[in-house]
């Protein structure tokens, strides 16, 4: 599988700004293809996990682990794998890039869908049984519509994360295999090679325009459309708007086209499509224990087998020293992530609260924060690297902020959302009792935004781990900066094509991420949930 691959014919990348629209379009198409794959995965994987208790026992923990594996870490493996599937052609490389984006998007979408399926309101569930919907009708009439708002939100989050990975995965070299797919990512990679700061600037402009168009043409209208799937039976306070959606509603021929599409979708959802008779209900029995045990045993044996294979793959070349080196590097990156999250929190929490308490301002700042979160920060790296080289700053310290450059915005916009949602009567109560200063933060505001903050911080720290792989070791033309750390380690081993050490690096990073989630974030989240409920 990992045999060296003959050189693939690849088109030259041009640094002319005129080539950028084409590159931007290609980058976007990769995103869309990955999105389609993610949706397909979501609908099947999520449904399977929700419908079968035994499937859930394996699928959900697996999803939890997959979520924590750094996408950029295993890029080298997937590139080599896909290229070996379609040798001599760029299709394999394209698939590898799409697969990388897919892995950055699919997990949380599947999770959100799974959770929605689990929380379908009981009365609607009964109604769909009472009116004898077939499984197909139930899926499209009840389950998917109920999941839409959460799924769309997660898709948007995934997409904004996705830009980062599409840029990173377009230009990659694994061992002696050098890949540059036509796209914005390769454009920037070439600009870095040639130390062309102007071209980096053009790429940033192109990316900005692309994200804005994407948002306006795709997500805004979808958000407007998804508003009708809200489960609450009350009218919305703020109705989302989109000029594209308005265009479709007001323009006759566009509306007709939309209606025709809607009617076709309706008809498809309405058909019974059931080859099985309606499933009769049985009284609930406690599941057979021995079957569970047997099943768990099978899953364990399977897991152990895979683990052993991996172990065998890694061990011949690795020594204890490698383990120590990786552990030290892991410690460095862990320290970085921790310090950066603290610093970002100290900066963005007060700003987020200040903005969130002013609704007029929040309305303007919120989309900006979301845009920054979507903007692939790796496009900005060259600028920072140029400055570090220029002023001869220490890379060990000054490369660190790059890790959180793209993900700190999750903290900001979650805090803004929390402060905006903070109940007015609490604010008024605090004002009438003249609670001010530190007491106000400690007793009023911080508990109020805490759950939101935790959500933001989880995303930010997860993103930072991923970003470490592209930000701890960077180059500007012939100059290479190495900030050391686990990300730098994985990046170096990728360039060297040293698979066992890449695997070791990924494994350690996954363990660190899972550990941080389990030991820090999940308990914090549960605590926040419990403390901030009134009933």
């Amino acid at each position: 599988m990992l045999a060296p691959i003959a050189a693939i014919h690849q088109p030259e990348i041009s640094l002319s700004p005129a080539a950028l629209p084409n590159y931007a379009l290609r980058t976007t198409m990769r995103m869309l293809a990955a999105l389609a794959a993610s949706l397909l995965f979501t609908f099947t994987y999520g449904t399977l996990a929700a419908k079968s208790r035994r499937a859930e026992m394996v699928l959900i923990p697996l999803l939890d682990v997959l979520q924590s594996v750094p996408v950029l870490g295993y890029l080298s493996f997937t590139v080599v794998f896909f290229v070996s599937l379609f040798p001599q052609r760029t299709l394999g490389v394209e698939l590898a890039a799409i697969f990388a984006i897919f892995t950055s998007q699919a997990w949380n979408m599947a999770f959100s869908f799974f959770q929605a399926l689990r929380t379908v309101p009981h009365d609607l569930d009964e109604a769909s049984h009472g009116f004898r919907f077939s499984a197909w009708q139930r899926f499209w009439r009840l389950e998917v519509p109920f999941a839409v708002p959460g799924l769309l939100w997660n898709t948007m989050m995934s997409m904004s994360g996705g830009w980062f990975f599409v840029v990173a995965s377009e230009a990659i070299s694994v061992g002696d295999l050098q890949i540059a797919l036509p796209g914005i990512g390769s454009y920037v990679a070439l600009a870095i090679q040639q130390q062309n700061l102007a071209a980096v600037g053009w790429a940033i402009v192109a990316m900005t325009v692309t994200i804005l168009i994407y948002d306006q043409l795709l997500f805004r209208p979808l958000v407007v459309w998804s508003d009708k799937f809200r489960y609450e039976q009350t009218a919305a306070q703020v109705v989302p708007r989109s000029w594209i959606a308005d265009l479709f509603r007001r323009t006759t021929y566009l509306r007709r086209a939309g209606d025709a599409f809607g009617a076709a979708a309706q008809a498809a959802a309405r058909s019974r499509l059931s080859f099985l008779p309606h499933v009769a209900l049985r009284p609930w029995h406690p599941p057979a224990r021995w079957l569970d045990v047997a099943y768990a045993l099978c899953a364990l044996v399977g897991g152990a087998y895979i683990g052993r294979q991996l172990f065998h793959f890694v061990t011949p070349t690795l020594s204890r020293n490698d383990l120590i080196e990786v552990a030290i590097n892991g410690g460095i990156t862990l320290l970085r992530v921790a310090i950066l999250i603290v610093i970002a929190s100290l900066i963005w929490v007060p700003i987020g609260v200040a903005v969130g308490l002013r609704p007029a301002l929040a309305e303007k700042v919120q989309p900006l924060a979301q845009f920054f979160a979507a903007f692939p920060a790796n496009l900005l790296f060259p600028v920072a690297v140029y400055l570090i080289v220029r002023f001869e700053l220490s890379p060990v310290i000054w490369l660190s902020p790059l890790m959180i450059l793209g993900t700190q915005w999750y903290i900001l916009f979650n805090v803004i959302a929390g402060a905006t949602a903070f109940p007015t009567d609490f604010k008024e109560a605090a004002t009438t009792f003249r609670i001010r200063g530190w007491r106000w933060w400690r007793d009023v505001m911080l508990p109020g935004i805490f759950p939101y903050y935790v959500t933001g911080a989880i995303t930010a720290s997860g993103g930072a781990w991923n970003a470490s792989i592209v930000s701890e070791a960077v180059s500007w033309g012939p100059v290479s900066l190495n900030g050391s750390g686990l990300g730098a380690y994985i990046a170096q081993m990728t360039t060297a094509g040293d698979y066992p050490r890449i695997a070791l690096g990924i494994a350690v990073m996954s363990v660190l991420v899972v550990g941080m989630n389990r030991l820090l974030w999940h308990p914090l989240y549960r605590y926040a949930e419990r403390r901030t409920r009134l009933d």
């Binding site: 009964e126 009439r141 309405r270 009769a280 209900l281």
Partner: protein, 434 residues
Amino acid sequence: MADTDETILDLRNVSMAFAKRSGEPLRVLDSISLSLRSGEILGLLGRSGSGKSTLLRIAAGLIRPTSGEAIYHGAPLAGPAEGIAVVFQTFALFPWLTVLENVEAGLDALGLKHAEALRRAEQAIDLIGLDGFQSAYPRELSGGMRQRVGFARAIAVQPEVLLMDEPFSALDVLTAETLRTDFLDLWSEHQLPTKAVLMVTHNIEEAVLMCDRLIMLSSNPGRIAAEIPVPLPRPRDRLDKEFGDIVDNVYGVLTARAAASVGALRQAHGGPGQPLPPASVNRMSGLVSILAAPPYNGRAELDTLARSLGLKVNDLFPIAEVLHILEFAELSEGALKLTAAGQVFSRSGAEQRKQLFKEHLLRFVPLAAHICRVLHERSGGSAPRARFETELEDHLNRHDSERTLRAVTAWGRFAEVFAYDDKTRMFLLIPRVR
């Protein structure tokens, strides 16, 4: 009203028990047999926990009973059947579908041509008085209009049997009255395709107003306690003496069952496993004060009391029941009578009330005494809530044990018998010296 005596839906020896994680399965329904006959509206009355909604779901084919069967057209129900439609308490409308689409959705399973489905949906909408609202989404409608959609959706499938699960209980008084009247008009004029209706309710007046026959269920487990015919002509008048007599009769049966069930429970459990209804100390105090004052002077009929307080009898029951358990009052034959202790309680000041409440709590609520004893026995004077949860779940289901524990926590806190820290989820002893 009954055209024929043909039985349409027949429940035979239906029992239902829910499996629990430990111990005996929880029995909800105990060998219930009843027949729904053509041309009648049959009412199922009972208190919460009597399993009446479960019984309705068995009749709908939504749940399979543990034993016994529901016979429809000569065959046992194996799932929801074509001729049976359900109207839900919470309406159960799909928020993402318009009124018309919601009604059509009910027809999906019939596999009709779209034109035919549309025609039938429009017909039902027209009949139920929803014309002009076809393109509205449920969230734009008031509760009453939403339930009309629920009715239209059920009627559109032209069901032979209509099952209604407290269809008016989520509506305000006036709206509920309008909907009831409209429904009864359609029923009396034979405008509905339906042959028989089974309706679950806890509102006694509503039951007497609408039904031809009432089946009263007792609680824990649900059994048929009584069957009361309502041979009044329609339209019925609430002010008729006969109407009032039947209502009183039903109240009597219900409260007698309630008092008996409290006694029976105490007999049966005699220990901390007794389920406790949720009633706040404030409400108990309030009820005692009102009961002690004129015009009641210590004794009142529950329905009179409920009516004058603007409460439903179902809201009053748990409070009355707790007063009964604590022996501040006696519940029998539809009346609540203060005991001597209750009289003293009503005349006392805040501190004395607390003292009295504490004494009665420890004496008559075994669970409170049990928690207190455990706290004294343990060296740290504290015990995790989970411990009592597991103990309770040997006797009660999850929901009841949670409710019971919550009630006893609130009472214990008020009486200063013990304290509870939600952060650590621990019960604590209150230091004696304060």
